[in-house]
């Protein structure tokens, strides 16, 4: 006979550690612990929403996860590409980021980007400077962040008209002026130097198939460098901190976004199992990365004792495939069925619960945490994190032996997922797309762009 208590039995038994307060809590109260409690407090009702009697049970899959609100997010992103009011002036120097974030979000949500090609080309053409690189707006100085965003956006829409827009000879000269005598890169002339610069520069060099040689007038030649890669690994090694994580510049605090930039940059320099192990203490790096995931929230925090934020679904989540590649090395066989894929080193379930449960705004778009508003940045990096949780990326011994081994030739495997992303629901429109973990755009977009530029002989005419 049903007892009274049975009425309160949850519809879906959620894992305790993802639905209740953690097992050990310190007594000492400080600003940090108060903010942490507040964050857990705002996440718990959403993580447990499936068991709230006022929720509609059809909004959740059999694992108690709210469905990905695909159409709402698509609409949100499309709106963001329309005209923005004057109050968005603070983004004036970052508009290229909006193109990249929006296009990637649409791709991850299964949209065809081709129809955006013409308007993207028209929009970014005035941002290129005659002395190389792209600025945040017309007449803005060239800067590696908008340059990275523009190149990736062009790669995503693809096509001769998109590729031919880039003045790669001027780009090469400009990048030469950014290379520093300590091995790293400034983000722009007279700008700051940090690992973002190094990552964005290497992405530009390899996607545009630029020579690795420094231009003859590059100031870093006076430091004895001849190649864009010279001193770079050593420089990135100096950004690893006592915590094991990686900082913006030597001496700074370990931080998720910079950790991603440094790891992705190293993966362009060489095979992860050689290069990451050579330059970084991989044990302390793994420890620090692993400690970035919190329960019950399930999401990632960017630094020790900071609170979770949906954007780290990518910045930290994106570090995992790179570290996993470094720890495991190449696959022995060319094809591996999903059932044989290695176990993940972070909780894909926790991350998925945080993204779908806490970061989806009912108005469309994804957010930092429940108390924040959605925006293009958090939409993009939450979705990218969701993709990282659904796929594994690796390369085989044969590929490693190939002369042109690089991250664009890695392979992607559907991971074993649960609920709405499980094999049972293998309809394309229910899935989230796969992207390359180093370039953070689709695999085919990288190879098409590289192929096109490898045939472009204009550089040394």
């Amino acid at each position: 006979m049903a007892s009274r208590e049975d009425e309160f039995e949850p519809y879906v038994a959620l894992p305790r550690y993802l639905s209740q307060y953690p097992p050990i809590i310190d007594e000492a109260l400080t600003a940090t612990s108060q903010l942490q409690s507040k964050t857990v407090h705002e996440c718990l009702p959403l993580l447990n929403a499936v068991n709230n009697p006022s929720s509609n049970p059809f909004d959740f899959d059999e694992y108690g996860l709210p469905y990905l609100q695909r159409q709402e997010h698509i609409d949100f992103v499309r709106d963001g590409l329309g005209e923005l009011p004057a109050s968005f002036v603070g983004l004036d120097a970052s508009r290229p980021w909006l193109f990249y974030w929006s296009l990637l979000s649409l791709y991850l949500l299964g949209q065809n980007l081709q129809p955006l090609q013409l308007s993207l080309i028209k929009t970014v053409r005035p941002l290129q400077n005659a002395n190389g690189g792209f600025g945040g707006g017309q007449g803005h100085l060239s800067h590696l962040a908008p340059t990275y965003a523009v190149i990736l956006a062009l790669a995503m829409v693809g096509g001769d008209d998109a590729y031919s827009l880039v003045d790669r000879k001027a780009m090469w000269g400009w990048l030469g002026r950014l290379k520093q005598p300590d091995g790293g890169f400034r983000v722009c002339e007279d700008g700051e130097e940090d690992v973002r610069g190094s990552y964005c520069a290497l992405v530009a060099i390899t996607l545009l198939d630029l020579p690795w040689d420094l231009p003859h007038d590059a100031p870093a030649r006076s430091a004895g460098y001849h190649d864009f890669r010279d001193g770079l690994g050593e420089h990135l090694s100096r950004c690893q901190t006592h915590e094991g994580g990686i900082s913006a510049s030597p001496s700074n605090e370990a931080h998720g976004a910079y950790a991603f930039c440094a790891l992705a940059c190293l993966c362009i320099l060489g095979p992860p199992q050689e290069i990451i192990t050579k330059y970084l203490n991989i044990n302390s790096l793994a420890r620090w990365l692993s400690a970035r995931q919190y329960a019950p929230e399930g999401g990632f925090a960017g630094r020790t004792n900071k609170v979770v934020d949906g954007c780290y679904s990518h910045w930290i989540g994106g570090c995992w495939p790179l570290l996993e590649a470094a720890l495991r090395g190449p696959r022995l066989d060319a094809d591996t069925a999903p059932s044989e894929l290695p176990k993940r080193m972070f909780s894909t379930e926790g991350l998925t619960r945080y993204i779908l449960g806490c970061c989806q705004a009912s108005t469309g778009g994804l957010r930092d945490k429940p108390s924040k508003r959605p925006d293009a940045y958090h939409t993009c990096y939450n979705l990218a994190g969701l993709s990282m949780a659904n796929y594994q990326h690796s390369y085989s011994v044969e590929e490693l032996r190939a002369a042109n081994f690089q991250p664009s030739t890695w392979h992607v495997h559907r991971d074993k997922m649960f609920g709405q992303f499980s094999d049972a629901n293998e309809k394309d429109e229910d899935q989230i797309a796969a992207i390359n973990p180093v370039y953070v755009i689709p695999y085919h977009a990288i190879s098409s762009m590289q192929h096109w530029f490898s045939k472009d002989q204009t550089l040394f005419e």
Partner: protein
């Protein structure tokens, strides 16, 4: 758009300042801007994420494009950058142009790129003297920047501007120890090498030294104020770390100028350490403060060594190179270990202090097993790896004989301690040690830190692998 409208438009009075209203024109109707032909933005029709700029911002940007194209150095260009910064402080181009204008004004040059102007700058550097006018100019710009900083706490560009500004000052003789880095490989690892490289700048005169000390002290005050409003602001902390490297003998308590000697007896009264002590006292979970503490006491030695000897940073500690070179201040390490243990006892789940303790061990090549007793403190008296943090204990009142339950903290108080103990036990090399190590990892994956189960499993497999190799 040539300034043809002047005949029909009434110009503003020359003293008119940019209006607060974003809908009124200013530059096109101001007498001092009539010789400039603004460069308008190309047609935005159909562009993605086009911003419907206010007329004022749009106009100011058109004039900026024009003066930047001419690399104009002038008071009006400076005022234009200030106006644009007030409307969009995240505009990196405006900040960089402002710095170029300032340098041009202070050296009489065109708004040249800083790299090219480098040799002419740093006025008076050869004589170890600060140029009076430059000193006053920097002070004035810093004062303006202070106000802008308080209004824009989250802004990024402000801190690079401050960096570029302070970098105009003469170097102290020790500065290059950090900034110099050549790809040449040095094989000798002596301290004298290091100081040879470190003293390429001219010695400072007493007057200059006094001024720089004054500046550094006022920077510390300013940073303390800003950080009290936003305690973990990454850009503020990064600037602070740069400042320490720029003036190491003033700001790094353990900076050794000649023969290394311990600073264990004095370092807590050093202003930079005292500032960090205060921040940790306020919030012992402030990881930025712990991170800075590590850098100013130990990290800078590792970085300097890596720079000067061309060694990959991780190898400095892994190969105990500082230790071998006699550059580890052991009394300081011991004092810091004690300090950190006290902090950990106050909040045993605080990842910042545990990470710091690990840093101390790594820097000094001390074995993790030296902390075994300390870690076991957090298991409670039973040393039971599975006991809940709080347990209801039943007792009988000795006088009345009444039964009462009391919630006592006798279980596990720190998952970090369990993690450390897994390593400590594993290293003991006994069967019992191995069993306990595995038990630690199992309790982490099943009870204390379940979300990281994948990582605990990975550590467990790695451990088994190492044992297999050892036993073979």
């Amino acid at each position: 758009m040539p300034p043809t409208s002047t005949s029909t438009t009434t110009l503003l009075p020359p003293e008119a300042k940019p209006p607060k209203s974003k809908s009124q024109p200013y530059y096109s109707v101001h007498p001092s801007w009539q010789d400039v032909v603004p460069i308008a933005q190309v047609d935005q029709a159909g562009a993605l994420a086009a911003i419907a700029y206010s007329p004022r911002y749009s106009e100011a940007m058109s004039y900026l494009r024009s003066v930047m194209a001419d690399t104009e150095v002038s008071e009006r260009a400076l005022a234009l950058t200030e106006d644009l910064i007030s409307m969009n402080p995240a505009h990196y181009t405006v900040w960089i142009y402002r710095m170029r204008v300032l340098r041009g004004m202070w050296t009489g040059a065109k708004a040249a790129k800083v790299d090219e102007a480098d040799e002419k700058q740093e006025a008076g550097d050869e004589a170890g003297e600060i140029d009076e006018a430059l000193w006053q100019n920097i002070q004035r710009e810093l004062k303006w920047l202070d106000e802008v900083s308080f209004r824009n706490l989250k802004n990024y560009q402000i801190w690079h501007h401050r960096h570029a500004l302070v970098d105009l000052l003469p170097s102290t003789p020790d500065t290059t120890a950090f900034t110099a880095s050549t790809p040449s490989q040095s094989t000798e690892t002596t301290t004298s090498d290091r100081h040879k490289k470190a003293s390429t700048a001219a010695p400072l005169t007493e007057a200059t030294k006094t001024r720089l000390l004054k500046l550094v002290a006022s920077e510390q005050t300013f940073l303390a104020q800003i950080l009290s409003l936003d305690t973990k602001n990454y850009h503020v902390w990064s600037y602070r770390q740069w400042l320490c490297m720029r003036f190491p003998s003033f700001l790094l308590p353990s900076y050794t100028s000649e023969t290394p000697s311990s600073v264990a007896g004095t370092y807590r009264s050093h202003p930079e350490v005292a500032a960090i002590d205060a921040m940790i006292l306020d919030d012992l979970r402030n990881n930025s403060a712990w991170s800075h503490r590590y850098f100013i006491l130990f990290g800078h030695h590792e970085l300097t060594y890596s720079n000067i000897h061309g060694v990959i940073l991780k190898n400095v500690n892994e190969e105990r190179l500082l230790h071998k070179a006699g550059l580890v201040d052991m009394p300081l390490i011991e004092a810091e270990i004690e300090y950190t243990k006290q902090e950990i006892r106050k909040a045993p789940m605080n990842g910042s202090s545990w990470n710091y303790l690990r840093g101390l061990l790594s820097h000094s090549a001390l074995d993790i097993s030296t902390t075994r007793d300390f870690c076991e403190e957090f298991l409670g008296p039973e040393k039971d790896l599975w006991m809940d943090q709080y347990v209801d204990v039943e007792s009988e009142d000795s006088e009345t004989g009444e039964k009462q339950t009391e919630r006592q903290q006798i279980g596990v108080r720190s998952s970090h301690a369990v993690e450390w103990l897994s390593e400590i036990y594993a290293a003991e090399g006994t069967e019992e040690g191995r069993r306990r190590a595995k038990e630690c990892l199992r309790s982490l994956g099943e009870k204390w830190d379940i979300i990281r189960m994948g990582y605990w499993d990975f550590l467990g497999e790695k451990m088994e692998e190492e044992w297999k190799q050892k036993d073979a």
